[in-house]
């Protein structure tokens, strides 16, 4: 009996996981503004395309994600390499802790810190504070992915490079870095998605010039039913899905 029940149970869990998103995507192509299917239409995508504020928020999000990805990838990769050479329990522990810290706490702590720092510098919340915050929480993701890659690496490779006359820097650049390339690319994609997607922390440290796509999506979602939100969601869902599948692929090569 159990042999037939288990697959059924499993199928329903997969339905639970995937149907909400698939339905949302499907209804973004609905010509009606209500949740009754009336026919295929791209009207909500057109509305999304023509929304200037939305375009600006998307641009902000892409810019923030791109800059913080580059920074977090560099810092995280160097950090992972440093920790590989000699582990610092304190640093890696802090990294793990930052991963499990509730976002709301990270957000308010950063907000408090920025406000405190502004007493000494004539600055305001804005793009730069958002980017700093994003780099901070992305580093741990990069570190984790790159360290996983390094854990499978043969430490003798670098010794071999030194033995053959390479300096430490050359050993890193010519041997370890090429070997890490897929891992680093995967880490960067992951950093990009977590940055692009973040709402909680961003909303706390953003200024007037830095409204992001998730912030706008949040506001629209709270306002009530709006098929444009479904259209935006579908685009984000598909876009991030592609990045993540690419990242997974890279991690396995």
């Amino acid at each position: 009996m159990k042999q037939r029940l288990l697959p059924l149970y499993v199928i329903s869990i997969y339905a639970f996981l995937h149907l909400p998103l698939l339905i949302l995507c499907a209804f973004s192509f609905n010509s009606s503004r209500f949740t009754i299917w009336e026919g295929f239409s791209l009207v909500w995508y057109k509305a999304m395309w023509n929304d200037g504020a939305l375009a600006e928020a998307t641009w902000n999000s892409l810019l923030i994600a791109a800059v913080s990805t580059v920074l977090a990838t560099v810092v995280g990769t160097l950090g992972a390499y440093g920790l590989w050479k000699k582990n610092s329990k304190f640093l890696s522990g802090s990294m793990y802790l930052s991963l499990v810290t509730p976002e709301i706490i990270t957000g308010i702590a950063l907000l408090a810190t920025f406000q405190w720092a502004f007493r000494f510098f004539h600055l305001q919340l804005g793009m730069h504070t958002v980017i700093l915050a994003h780099v901070t929480f992305s580093i741990a993701y990069v570190l984790l992915v790159v360290m996983a890659r390094l854990r499978t690496a043969d430490p003798a490779l670098e010794e071999a490079a030194l033995d053959l006359g390479a300096t430490e820097w050359q050993a890193f650049r010519l041997v370890t870095l090429p070997m890490l390339k897929p891992g680093i690319a995967a880490a960067a994609l992951l950093a990009f998605t977590v940055s692009f997607d973040d709402y909680v922390i961003t909303s706390l440290v953003a200024g007037v010039d830095s409204e992001t796509l998730p912030m706008m999506l949040y506001a629209m979602a709270r306002r009530g039913a709006n098929p444009v939100v479904s259209a935006i969601s579908t685009v984000i869902f598909v876009g991030l899905g592609i990045l993540i599948v690419a990242s997974e692929r890279l991690q396995k090569t």
Binding site: D154, A156, E159, A160, G165
Partner: protein
């Protein structure tokens, strides 16, 4: 150029002392083996010569140049790693060219080609390590280390990753290669057969100390300590006298002409394929094993026999 000297080398790790006062000289152009069980400190010794670890005390000299304190890339010494440590993103030829490029050698292309020829890998020059067989990887690693014309080549159990058949073949190739290039080879191994068959000289290590240095024959036939005798092969101990089982004979009648004889009782007899292994017990309680060829008779359990050997086959070791 010159001999490699280790003078009173000590190295301690947090848990224990790994190398405990080693002094030895490895003559230039020699095929020299460091033989010992795992954990005896031989790999640490190699790493100190290569420059991956620094000794706590003691001097490492090549000719009259001191190597202490030099970084690995400053030492005229290269290593063939146990795992080969081939760079996975570089082809065989690129792996071999790696060291030459670091030196900015203008003759890189020709030297790489010669090195590939030397190890018979010219046809596989553009292969990545992942696409090579175990033997090809091993040869690439050798070529990569040799192409820099080091004064000493360090080999860290280079055959251990190969299957037994290939291992015997590579052993021959290695010996031949060393004769051709004339570079000092320092070969680290725990396999006594490898060490015996390859080396001009062997240093046997145990628990961070040297037990004996000598030619393969000296080490095998006249071991200085019980450890060396036992590590290189099975031994029958009768008091302070040791005899190898393959040099021990058994007969029903007493042998003449000055042989050393012990009377004993057969406790077991086993057929091993190429010989019989007969285990006997002396009245004093010693157990003596003899390996005897086919046709020298079969012995039954419980039989009273004469166990004997020639005095010149004895190994006398003070206890």
């Amino acid at each position: 150029m010159g001999d490699l000297h280790l003078e009173a080398i000590y190295k301690e790790f947090p848990s224990h002392r790994v190398v405990d006062g080693i002094t030895l000289t490895i003559p230039q152009g020699c095929f020299y083996s460091l033989l010992g069980p795992s954990g005896c400190g031989k790999t640490t010794t190699l790493r100190m010569i290569a420059g991956f670890d620094e000794p706590d005390r003691g001097v490492i000299k090549l000719g009259d140049r001191t190597l202490n304190g030099l970084r690995p890339y400053e030492r005229p010494v290269t290593t063939v790693f146990q795992s080969y440590a081939l760079f996975p993103h570089l082809t065989a030829a690129e792996n071999i060219a790696f060291g030459l490029k670091r030196k900015g050698d203008p003759d890189t292309a020709r030297k790489v080609k010669e090195a590939l020829d030397l190890v018979q890998l010219s046809a596989k020059a553009d292969r990545l390590p992942a696409k090579m067989s175990g033997g090809e990887r091993q040869r690439t690693a050798l070529a990569r280390a040799l192409v820099l014309q080091p004064e000493v080549l360090l080999l860290d159990e280079p055959l251990s990753a190969l299957d037994p058949k290939l291992r015997k073949q590579m052993r021959l190739e290695l010996k031949e290669l060393q004769a051709r290039v004339g570079i000092t080879f320092l070969f680290i191994t725990h396999d006594q057969e490898e060490a015996l068959s390859l080396s001009d000289q062997i240093a046997v290590m145990n628990k961070g100390r040297l037990e004996q240095i000598g030619t393969p024959q000296e080490i095998y036939l006249t071991p200085a300590t019980r450890f060396v005798a036992g590590f290189l092969g099975a031994v029958n101990w009768v008091g302070a006298i040791g005899v190898r089982p393959e040099l021990t004979r058994i007969s029903r009648e007493a042998p003449g002409n000055g042989a050393r004889v012990v009377e004993a009782t057969v406790s077991s007899a086993m057929f091993l394929g190429d010989c019989f292994q007969v285990e006997t017990k002396t009245p004093a309680g010693d157990s003596i094993v003899a390996q005897i060829a086919h046709g020298l008779g079969e012995f039954q359990r419980g039989e009273r026999v004469h166990v004997w050997w020639h005095p010149h086959d004895e190994m006398a070791i003070p206890q």
